[in-house]
């Protein structure tokens, strides 16, 4: 069950990847990165269930935070042209 879900999500991952490579605007890529982040969170959790070690959920939280911050950083750069 978890395995099937994992594979289905991996297919989704592939689609997002294609979008990230194709672009065409920079916002498409940011969007792809962001979507990738969410998918990764789900996948990490699912992989924990696949292997029976569910206690690795902390990682999912990290992913949530990290992908959020990355998005903000990229956006700030695009909008303001600087990070400071």
């Amino acid at each position: 069950m978890f395995l099937a879900a994992t594979f289905a999500l991996l297919v989704g991952l592939l689609m997002i990847l294609v979008r990230a490579v194709k672009g065409p605007t920079v916002y498409d890529r940011i969007l792809a990165v962001n979507a990738m982040g969410t998918k990764t969170v789900i996948l990490v959790t699912l992989l924990g269930y696949v292997s029976g070690r569910t206690e690795f959920l902390d990682m999912a939280i990290v992913y949530t935070l990290i992908s959020f911050i990355t998005t903000i950083a990229i956006l700030k750069f695009i909008q303001k042209g600087r990070l400071d």
Binding site: S51, G52, R53, E55, F56
Partner: protein, 139 residues
Amino acid sequence: MSDVLEIYNYWIYIVLMMVGFYGVMAKRNLIKQAIALGLFQTGIFLFYISMAVVDGGTAPIWMADGATKVPNPLAVPAAFDNPLPHVLMLTAIVVGVSILAVALAIIINIRRAFGTIEYDELTKIEREMEAREAREAAQ
């Protein structure tokens, strides 16, 4: 099929490494080179982590709660994946990000000093500087 998969990981790591290696050598943009260097190193991480996998193994963390199947490596040496490569790679990842940071700092300085981060243009500027020095020395 499983014959292929037995060394599949090792081959993919080589692919990653070589993509990075090619990028380091062939790309002329310094930032690209720095990124490619990162890929190159990740390839090695993949190799180490692949080395740590044991059939049927699980993460090398003892279960603190009363799980039904607490892996006992004394009885079954292979119940845990090997933690040693994980530890080594933690260190290597840290080293990798440090190198990336220093490389980027140098690149920023290069851009400030030369106005470009393209390798070809940098070599051209340096050649001119050297030629000028040689002319001065010949006087």
